[in-house]
Symmetry: D2
Subunit: 269 residues, 4 copies
C-alpha cells in the first residue's frame, strides 16, 4: 500500500503532479480597485451565519482587478510563465465575527486552473472568467503611467457575457488602496457530502491574510463602474448606489496559510 | 444572519450563482478509449492506503477522451451551450478495496470550470487542458463514420505542452467499451487544512457510479498512443508496454451522487 | 535566390508551414440557421458598388452557426483534430450583380486561425469569436435529436461581449435549409496599399460556391433570435423585424476555388 | 449603390466594424530577444527572389517575444483592454535587396485577431499561438526586475504543441537590443488568385519601419533557447548553432505605413 503525496490533487508518489505546490505562495501584481456603496441588505444576504454586517459603512463593496505573476518557493514557475501568470477580478465586502471586522470575497473569477485550486484551499469561490485591465508601461503612447491623469480600463466576462466594466482616472497619491479589502479575510470552505441529502462534508469558517506585504505608492481617483446581469451570476444584484473611488497600486504579497475559526454551523444549505 | 444556498460556491441567497447546480447531472457524449498495459508498480504507487492493486491484469490502464454535452435537471444549460459543452481526457486504472474491484481516475483534464467543480465533488483530480478528438459526422469527407474503418485521432495538452496523442482505427463491433473503466469509481476527496502543518481537513474515500446508462453499439479496433513528459505531469510514467485496443462508443449517463466508503486514514501526505 | 512555396503564408522551401494547405478543402458539419427580415436599407448600405439589393425579399438575412470539421486533400488534419475542428457564426444577405442573384457574407466569426486564412482567400470578413451551438447526440438526456421537437440554442460572443443568441425548435422536415444562403457567394477581396493614402492594393469582386455538396434531411421550425450591440460591431444594426424561421441540417461540402468577377472599382473607401 | 468604409474588413457604411482601424498604430511593450546563429542555407531558403542573404553574419536569427498593449489614434482600445493587449513571438532574419540590408520576419505567432489583420497589411506571416514571457514587477518575490541578475523565461506554443522556450539572464546594460531586428523590414504581401491555378492575385515586396520609437535602457545577458518540431511548423529547421545573446528592452513604437518596393516577380509558387 502506497503513500501518495502532493499538496493538492492529483496526488502521486512524488507529489510533482499536484495542481499547486504547497504554500508559501508568492505574488507580484497590479491591483485596480473600484469601491462603491450598495444596499446593505444585498451584502447581508451573502453573509452566512454567524457572520454579520460590518458596523461602519456596511454596504461598501470593492471590485478589484488583479494582474498577477505568482510562484511557489522553488520559483520555477517564473521561468515557465504560463504556469505563473493569471488575471483575476474579485468582489469584496466586509463582515463581523466575534467582534472583529473581516473582509470577505463573495465572487471571484480567474483564468488559470492553479488559481482555482488555491481558491479551493483559501475559500475563494472561484469561477473561470476572461479578465482584462489596462497595463501601465513606461514608454510609448499605448499605455497610461501610474500617476496623475493615468486612466485605466478593466473588464470582466464569463460564459461569453460581459459582467463588469470600469474606468479609473488617477488624480493623486493616496494613503490607502481603499478600505474594503483591508482586513483579514473570513471565508467558508464548503463541500457537499457525496451522499445525496447528506448535507455538508466540509463546513469551515477560516481566516487568512498575507504573511507579508510590500507595495508601491497607492494612487486614487475617479471611477465609473457598470455591472451586467447574467443567468448564473448575481454580481449585478450588488447595485452601484454611490461610487466611493478608484485606486491603483502595485504590490507584492506572500500567503502562507490561515486559521480555522469555526467548524460546522455555517447556516449554508 | 442569513442562510446562503447553492450546491457549490459561490453560495448566495438564491443559489443561482453556484458554479454547478445540484445533481442529478445528465451527460450525452462520445467516448474514445485506448487501453494498454503498464508496469503494475506504476499503478500501485498511485493507490493510497488502503487501496491495493486489482487482482487480474493490475497494470491495465484506460485513457479516455470524451466529447460531452451535459446539463442539470432544468436542462436550461442546453440552450446556452457554452454552459453545457466540454471535453475531457481521463486516465483510469483499477484497484481493490475490501475485496471489491473499483475503477479509479488518477489523472484528468477538462476545459470548463463547471467540470472542475463537479470533479471536486466526485473526487476526480481535474486540471484544465486542451482536449480534442475527431468527431464522426454522417456527411462529407472530413469525418469518419462510427463503423468499420472509421479512424479517430485524439490529443491532450496542458500548460502549452502536448501530453498525449492517440489514433484508433475501428475494426468491428464490440461487446464492451473496454474493461478498465467498467467498475464503480473509488476516489479520494482531499483538502488540506488551512493551518500550515495541519494535515488534511477533508480525507474521504468515496465511491460512485452512473445512476443510469444508455449507449449505442461499441466498436473496437487497433490503437496507437504516445505519452509525453512535462515538468508538472506524470502521465508519461504510466509507460505504454503493450496496447490492448481502442474503443468508440456514444453514450448517455446520469450521475446522482455516491457513497462514503471511509473517512480518514487515506495515507496521503 | 530561392523559390518559396505554400498556398498561404508563411511560405518556405517546402510549403509545409503554410497556415492552410491548397484547396480543395473538405468540410463536414452541422448548420443551425435563423432567417429573418430587416430593413432593406440596412442591407443596401452593406453592398458596395456595383452590387445592388436582390429583387425579391431584399431585407432577408440568415444567421448561420456551423460546427465544422475540415481538412485538406491529405486528410492528415483529421487525426490531429485541433487542426481540423472549428466553429463559426456568419451573417448572409443576398445581392444582385449583372442580373444574377448572389448570397454574400457580411459578418463572420470563427475560432481558429486556419479558418481566418481561408476567409482571406475566399473573401469572408472573418474575426475571432466564441461560438457555441447545441449538439445533437443519439443517446442520453443532455442533447436534442435532429427531429420533431429537437430544440437547439446558439450563441456568439467576441471581445468578451455576447453579440447574438438564438433558439430553434424543429417542427418538421423541410425541402430547403433556408433560401438566403442558397446562391453562389459574391465577395470582395480587399487589402489596403502599404502606402498611406494609397487606396487599395487588392480590390476584387469574386464569386465561389461549393464544388460539391451532400446533406441529410433538412428540418425547419420556430426560431427566436436576439442581437446585441458592441463598440466595434454592427450586427445589431441588422435589426430583427420579422423572423422567417429556423433550420437544421447536417452537411458535407467541398470547396475548390472560385471566379474573379471584376477587379477594381468596388467603391470601397 | 453604396460606398462601404473601414480600413480592413468587414467594411460597412460607418467603418466601425473594421477588424482594425487605420494607422497610425501605437504600441507600448516589453521585448525579450534571443539572438543566435543557424546555418545560412536555412535562412537563404526562406528568402524569395530577389532577396539575398545579408553580407555580414548571414545566419543570424532573432527570436523575439513581445508583450504588447496597442491602440489606434482614438486610443479608445486602451479603456477596453481586451481590444488592446496581445502577445507575440516572432522570428527575424536579415536579407539584402538592391544593396540595402533589411530585417525580415519569417515566422510569427500572435494571440488576437486584430494583430492578425495588421499582419496581413504589414506582410507578417501570422498564425495564432499561445505566447508567454516572464513579466518584471517592481514589488514582491514573484518577478524579476529589469536589471542585473533579472531572469526571464519565454515560451511559444501553437496547435497544442510547444514550439520554443527560452531563458534570458540579464548581466549588464547594452547599447543595443540586438542587431538582427534593427533594419527596416522587407516583407512580401501575397494572396493567391481565387481561380485555381491562377497564380498570385497580390504579389508585393514592401518595406516598413516604425515611424517613431522610444525605449528604456536595453539590457543584455546570457540566453538558452530550445526549438521543437511540429507537423506544420519549420521553426526548428532554423537550428541553434551558436547563441549570440539575450536582450530585454521596454519600448514605445508608432507604425504608420510603408513603401512598395516591387510588385510581382517574387518567385513564390
Amino acid at each position: 500500500m502506497a503513500t501518495v503525496r502532493g499538496f493538492f490533487t492529483p496526488k502521486t508518489a512524488t507529489g510533482r503532479s499536484s495542481l499547486v505546490p504547497a504554500p508559501p505562495w508568492y505574488y507580484s501584481g497590479d491591483l485596480l480597485t473600484v469601491e462603491y456603496r450598495t444596499d446593505p441588505a444585498r451584502v447581508a444576504e451573502l453573509l452566512p451565519e454567524p457572520l454579520t454586517l460590518a458596523e461602519e459603512d456596511p454596504g461598501a463593496v470593492a471590485i478589484i482587478w488583479a494582474d498577477w505573476q505568482s510562484c511557489s518557493g522553488s520559483k520555477e514557475e517564473l521561468l515557465d510563465p504560463v504556469r505563473s501568470q493569471y488575471k483575476e477580478c474579485f468582489v469584496v465586502v466586509r463582515c463581523a465575527f466575534e467582534g472583529r471586522t473581516f473582509s470577505r470575497c463573495v465572487y471571484i473569477w480567474v483564468d488559470k486552473d492553479f488559481a482555482i485550486a488555491r481558491g479551493m484551499h483559501q475559500g475563494y469561490p472561484k469561477k473561470l472568467g476572461s479578465i482584462h485591465q489596462t497595463r501601465p508601461y513606461s514608454y510609448g503612447q499605448a499605455a497610461p503611467r501610474v500617476g496623475e491623469g493615468g486612466t485605466f480600463g478593466a473588464t470582466l466576462a464569463a460564459a461569453d457575457r460581459r459582467l463588469a466594466q470600469a474606468v479609473v482616472r488617477l488624480r493623486e497619491p493616496s494613503e490607502t488602496n481603499g478600505f474594503v479589502n483591508g482586513h483579514p479575510m473570513a471565508h467558508n470552505r464548503w463541500l457537499p457530502s457525496i451522499e445525496p441529502g447528506g448535507g455538508l462534508a466540509l463546513d469551515e469558517l477560516i481566516s487568512s491574510a498575507g504573511q507579508s506585504f510590500e507595495g508601491g505608492q497607492a494612487w486614487k481617483g475617479d471611477a465609473e463602474i457598470e455591472l451586467f446581469d447574467a443567468p448564473t451570476e448575481e454580481l449585478a444584484a450588488l447595485r452601484v448606489e454611490e461610487v466611493i473611488g478608484g485606486y491603483y497600486r502595485q504590490v507584492g504579497v506572500v500567503w502562507n496559510g490561515g486559521t480555522l475559526l469555526r467548524s460546522g454551523g455555517s447556516g449554508a444549505e
